[in-house]
Structures are given as C-alpha cells and as structure tokens.
Amino acid sequence: MTADSTEFTAFYQAARNNCLRAVYVSTGSRDAAEDLVAEAFARAWARWRQVRRHPAPQAWVVATALNANVSSWRRRRREQRLPDDQQLPWADPGTSADPDVMAALLRLPVRQRQVIALRFMLDLDTAQTARTLGMAPGTVTAHTARAIARLRAELTSGGKQEAWQ
C-alpha cells in the first residue's frame, strides 16, 4: 500500500459516514446516497493529489456526489418534499436514521436540506457551504435560519403547532 493510498484510506474511514449522511439528507434516498458517495470517493481517489489539497475534501466529495445526482434529480424530481402529515414508510432500527428526525428533514425544501446537511454533518461554515452549493453566502444564511426554525418547531414537542399555525 502506497503512502497516498494509506492517506486516502484514512480520509475515507474518517469521512465516509458524515458524507453519506449529508448526501442522504440532501437526496432523501439512502440507496442512492450510498451509490453516489461511494462513487464520489472513488473519483476522489482517482484525483487524490488534487483533492487532498482541497480546503475541505469532505465537501468536495459531497459536492461531487450531489452534482452526479443533479441530472437524475431533474429527471425524477427526487427533491419532492414529504407531505407534512406523512410518516416515513421504513423503520430499520440499528442501521436507519431516527424516523422523526429524518421526516422533519425531508419536509424541508431541498436547498434548505442541503444547507443543513453541510452545516450539521460536515461542520462547514457559511462561506464553505456557499462555495460547495454554488450559492451566495447570504442565501446560505437565510436557508440556514429558516431550516433551523422549522426543524426546531418540528422536533420540539408541540412546537409544530405553535410555529406553523
């Protein structure tokens, strides 16, 4: 194993779960997220000497995964939100997300979801999030504020009624 592959493997082991969670939250599809993130990591390895110098390699992976998903988003409109009164159909304790948390996230508009994914899962700041998603920092700030307000309302007992009615 070369020094490069050792370094990449360490990066992969450390970053893969957070990248998967970020893409999962962004796309709403666990299966698609796994495929996209694995492929994005493979692309990262294919150009590791460039990616390793990136200020936030995890963001590079997530951005690559999301970019690869853009066309299928356009075709399939995968970004449709979960209706407010609908629960997630699956529940697989041990390997799945908390159904309440995931349902609250999936009720967010897709851009708010992406911002939250990068801010919460990858700990990116506003500027890094803006660069990764190709939006203005002010837009990131606005999406973050709205998403947090809504999540707080959704995830706080009884808060949903107070916040949205």
């Binding site: 493979a42 150009r47 970019n67 390997t95 997300a97 995830l155």
Partner: protein, 226 residues
C-alpha cells in the same frame, strides 16, 4: 432548544447511518476511473492528431503563426493580412519580465480563432476570452476535465472540424501550443474541452507547455460554470 442542541439531535438521529463499502472497493473503483480517463484522453489526443493529419493542409493554409516571436520569414502573408483586417489580438500580459512575452494570444483568422499558449497563466482568462468569441469551451491546466463535467457521447462527430493543431504532431512547438478553433462547429449540447498540461515545465517558467488534450464534454450548467 438552542442551535447546538438542535444540531446534536439531528446528528444523533443519523448516527446509525453508515457507509459499509470497504475502502478496498473504493480504491479499486478509483483506479478504474483513473485508467479509463487516461485512455479517453489519449484517445481524444489521437483523434485530434488524426484529424490534423487528415486536414493538415487546411491548417497550414492560414500560415504558421507567431512569426514575430520566431523571427522567421516566409509564407506568412496570409496571416498578416488576416490579422490586419481583424480585431487586434487580445493577449494576457505576463505579470513580470520579460514584458514582450505574453502567456497566451487569441486572434481571429477567418472563421477560426487562432490560439497560442506560451505559458500556463490565467487560463480562466483564456477561457473567458474564447467564450466571448462564441466558443463554448472549458479550459484546464491539466489533461483532466473538471469533476463537474462528463464526456459528451455522440455517434457521429469530427473533432477536426472544430479544433486543429498547428503542429501536425499535436505536440507544442517552440512557441507553445498553437491551435485553431471554429466556434460555429462545436456541436449543440457539447462543450469543447481543452486541457493544457504543464508537464515538463516548472510553474512560472516561460516556454512551451506540455501535451494538450481536447474532447467534448456534455454541456451542463455545472460543467460550464466549473
């Protein structure tokens, strides 16, 4: 509940979500991508070289450029006349001495844009200049295209209609990489990829750049904006 509490709840809620793909599988897949990319780029370079070989006379027609740089004289009047009737070349000044050398030059020659790259500097500026002249291009400082792009697939197209190397070997001459682009021939739905490698020249050194690759990429907003 403050923001940190909320963040902790969300993160805890997703803690069970894990990527189980082994690192070895990712490494193997990455290696396959790397190998495929090299073969695609080598194929694209071969297509350009073949197209130039097939249309070499057409390329040679406008004349060998950069007469002023090489100091040679001869059959370059066609170029001189064309240049005199066209807008002045837009060049990227080199930031430091010697002041007479420009990093790259774009001039009009009939329907063709003549591009000379002498130094790998301000390639985004070159890209912007070519786009302003109607050529939908993606220019990089390596043989790889941006990660946001993907190859354009089409059953029938001719690279030689769009880009032709001045040097029939496809390799840079003493004056750098010299080639012609016909913006009108770039197929709809495609972007022309130009990858200029710095191989063999340390950064900042004036002189001919390394090998160049070209090909078509799918025209998407992400790729065009990359």
């Amino acid at each position: 509940m403050n923001d940190l509490d909320l963040k902790a709840i969300v993160r805890d809620g997703l803690a069970a979500v894990r990527l189980e793909v082994p690192a070895e599988a990712v490494l193997a897949r990455g290696q396959a991508i790397k190998t495929r990319r090299r073969s695609v780029l080598a194929g694209a370079a071969a297509v350009v070289a073949a197209a130039v070989a097939a249309g070499g006379l057409a390329v040679a027609g406008p004349g060998r450029p950069a007469a002023e740089a090489s100091g040679q004289t001869g059959a370059r009047s066609a170029v001189s006349r064309a240049a005199s009737t066209q807008p002045q070349p837009r060049t990227q000044p080199q930031p430091s001495r010697p002041a007479t050398v420009t990093a790259w030059t774009v001039t009009h020659s009939g329907r063709w844009l003549r591009v000379t790259i002498r130094q790998l500097a301000d390639l985004p500026g070159l890209q912007a200049t070519l786009r302003a002249d109607g050529a939908r291009v993606v220019v990089t400082g390596s043989l790889a295209w941006p990660s946001a792009c993907s190859p354009w697939r089409s059953a029938n197209y001719q690279m030689g209609d769009v880009i032709r190397m001045q040097n029939v070997t496809g390799l840079p001459s003493r004056d750098g990489s010299e080639f012609y682009i016909d913006p009108a021939q770039i197929p709809a739905g495609a972007l022309l990829f130009i990858g200029q490698s710095p191989v063999g020249k340390p950064p900042g050194v004036i002189g001919p750049p390394g090998p160049m690759a070209s090909g078509y990429l799918t025209d998407t907003p992400a790729c065009f904006g990359s």
